[in-house]
Amino acid sequence: MTNTIGNNTAAEPGRGMRFTSAAANYVDERTSASTAVKALGRKIFPDHWSFMLGEVALYSFIVILISGTFLTFFYDPSMTEVVYNGSYLPLKGIEMSVAYHTALDLSFDIRGGLLMRQVHHWSALLFIAAIGLHMLRVFFTGAFRKPREINWMVGFLLFILAMAEGFTGYSLPDDLLSGNGLRIIDGMIKSFPVIGVWMSYLFFGNEFPGTDIIPRLYVLHIMLLPAILIATLAIHMVLLVVNKHTQFAGPGRTNDNVVGSPVMPVFAAKAGGFFFLVFGVIMLIASLFTINPIWNYGPYDPSPVSAGTQPDWYIGFADGALRLIPPGLEFVLFGFTWPINILLPTVILGVFIVLVALYPFFEAWVTGDKREHHIADRPRNAPTRTAIGAAGVVFYAVMWAAASSDLLATHFALSIEGVITTLQVLWVAAPIAAYIITKRTCLALQRKDREIALHGYESGRIVRLPGGEYVEVHEQLSDYERWKLLDYNEYQPLTVRPNEEGRITVGTRLRARVSRWFFEDRVLPVVPKELEDAAKH
């Protein structure tokens, strides 16, 4: 192949163009890059703002990597005790670990150090928030259905890894707040039957706190977890490219195509621009708002503690779950202690996140639908799924709120006992209420859609007919607008049939039950005949 690339571009070749084609040719002859460009260059990505939440996560992760690298040049995780000799007056002469000292140096004695610390921490909070919201978007639009079940599990793993990264990261300064967080984790580890004390001992390298934990968390934080995270992220993105992105229903959009912008130039410009916008917003926040003022907390010591001790927001649901347990839940059996007050919330949280991870398989079992799905559902068109999701969100939210129970009390002039008791009740009642309200709302919205699809929307113009009757004129939708309301999947409950051996298995019965729960209450979609009749009206 002696053709050089760039000969058939649309623009007139000038000097710059000639250099570019020579360079492109050089690279292609050594890497087959043109194959990649051909395959990916004009790939289509659909355009919807809710599809950008994953990008917020991705870009804030890149900001984390950049700012974190800077920090590693100055931070030292050693727990050796030194006396502070930096420039922050209220800590002068205080004994502290090298880790805390170097974190203070970054904040007070290195230009741009505090900025990078704040960029790093703010973008970590944003990263996990974006993952959470992105996951909710994927859930509520049913984008976890075939062929994306594996990618859902991969994404779920990313969520867990991100939380682990965050936890190990904010523990690195070895300050009072994060140190008490480690103390709590140690207490939780110790509560495990049989192996708890040993796990704690091995993890901390001695009795709590020991002198090994911060360096170990550092290795996890900058080496092991990022490596696994980046590899997992790569899988996530490869699957995204292979499966192509989902799209919402609309005119010209089918289950067998993707409508949107090509990577080059529009999507690249928008996505690239969005990276700078995310980075810019984080930088703006980091210049103006304090985060994690470690100098206020002082070095970790097992004796002092601050009022208002909470973990970073993404660990809040676990802290809240601990607070909601009533007193006295522990028993001793044959001399062995079972701290149910710790084990129970741990199990509840574990079951909860496993249920979240396995939801796609559950729904696939219920519907029995083995087709590929590339059209994103509008949440109202999957009422039971949306209601289950709402109940899950509310369940999470109650635990999250419980983590700030003392702050709720001081800020709203309540008692901590009142706040916690209320949240204990809500822990059970609120998800149920959320489910019911959400399902009914979805069905109502579907009915409204149906009305509008058939009869148009009320225009506000009142017309008097010759006979004296007043009517409100309805504006019909255009075909294009109407299509958005009409194009969705409908399911009906499973009818129970005996299998080849003539028996009805328990599994089938169960599935039929669940299927009825999911699909019995539904609004029938519009059929062509109804449309014709409505048009004649």
Partner: protein, 352 residues
């Protein structure tokens, strides 16, 4: 196992099953998709003057970005940190950050505006293909595995295969064992059951280590206490403190309910309790002088000092352990013995 022909289940696994709609209702007479709506032209497509204006706007943002980035570098020098001057630290953070933010946002806004207002190609269509491989790739894949199996005899040679699996399972075992020395060789359970407190050890103030006389503890006082000698420890100071931290209070004697076994554990209304919460180990340091409640700020476990720190609210399951105290002949408060139970959170071997 005899040599079986390669299973065709994978390929035959009929695309029929894999496209089974299950309980979905597939309407026989579907609604028709109206197709892509007509292209929507922007002002910049229609009016060359608008196009020029958009170009200038975009260039403005990119220029602003240059100003911002250069400004950040300048701010780094112009707003240095003067050691000890907190205002200079704040200015350095703020100005470098703000200029850098402008530098970044400028590029972002410019690029997005360019894409939205000037670039073409917004509603293009790409066809999807079923995710599964084509029939020929699938049979080629099956064929590859079948051939490899034939050439290696993997399924046929069961002894070879099974011992390989065994070896793979056994290989990581040494790695697991290597983790034992993450911690020293002492028995951690034993360590958890003892603290620095012992008979005659004086109660001292945290952090100075100065011992406390009974006469210094007046009604309503709360002293943060460590064992005498802890402040001077060279090794394991924090680890010992994590078990030995104590809260010392004095209540009016008539407000203290003392059980018979513990009558000698307090001294004239002065009581000492472990500060380490029995929930998950935070310091229970909040003492309410009037209600005699101890509150842990982490998860709001509350203990009643009047009643031997029994749990009155919150997730803790056990009262705080009490340190038996008395005075020595110089009037200093001393421990009578170590705690009579392990302090802090519960663990498996706690009662053994």
């Amino acid at each position: 196992m005899a040599d079986k022909p390669p299973s065709t289940d994978l390929v035959a696994g009929s695309s029929q099953d894999d496209n089974d709609p299950g309980t979905a209702v597939v309407p026989s007479e579907g609604l028709t998709n109206p197709g892509l709506p007509p292209e929507h032209l922007r002002v910049t497509d229609l009016d060359p003057k608008e196009e020029k204006k958009a170009e200038r706007r975009i260039a403005f943002f990119f220029t602003l970005s240059i100003v911002g980035s250069v400004g950040a570098a300048v701010a780094y020098v112009v707003f240095p940190i003067i050691p000890g001057d907190m205002q200079s630290v704040r200015f350095n953070n703020m100005f470098v950050g703000l200029f850098a933010a402008v530098g970044l946002l400028g590029v972002g806004i410019g690029a997005v505006h360019w894409a939205k207002s000037l670039m073409h190609g917004h509603e293009l269509v790409e066809e999807r293909h079923p995710t599964r491989g084509t029939e020929e790739s699938r049979s080629a894949a099956v064929e590859t595995f079948a051939q490899a199996n034939k050439e290696s005899g993997f399924t046929r040679r069961s002894l070879v295969r099974n011992t390989l699996i065994g070896a793979m399972i056994a290989t990581p075992v040494p790695a697991v064992v290597l983790f034992r020395d993450l911690a020293p060789s002492y028995d951690p359970v034993k360590l958890l059951k003892q603290t620095m407190w012992a008979e005659g050890v004086r109660l001292a103030k945290d952090p100075s280590g100065i011992p406390i006389k009974a006469s210094e503890v007046t009604i309503g006082s709360a002293f943060q206490v460590i064992p005498e000698g802890l402040a001077e420890l060279e090794y394991h100071r924090i680890e010992e403190k994590a078990k030995a931290a104590v809260l010392l209070m004095r209540l009016p004697i008539d407000e203290l309910n003392v059980s018979p076994e513990r009558e000698t554990w307090s001294y004239q209304g002065i009581v000492a309790y472990s500060k380490i919460c029995t929930h998950v180990g935070c310091p229970v340091a909040l003492y309410e002088q009037q209600t005699h409640h101890l509150l842990c700020p982490c998860h709001q476990s509350a203990f009643d000092v009047s009643n031997e720190c029994e749990v009155i609210f919150g997730p803790a399951a056990r009262p705080l352990p009490q340190l038996p105290i008395t005075i020595d002949d110089e009037g200093y408060l001393v421990a009578r013995s170590d705690f009579t139970e392990p302090v802090g959170p519960s663990f498996w071997e706690r009662r053994r």
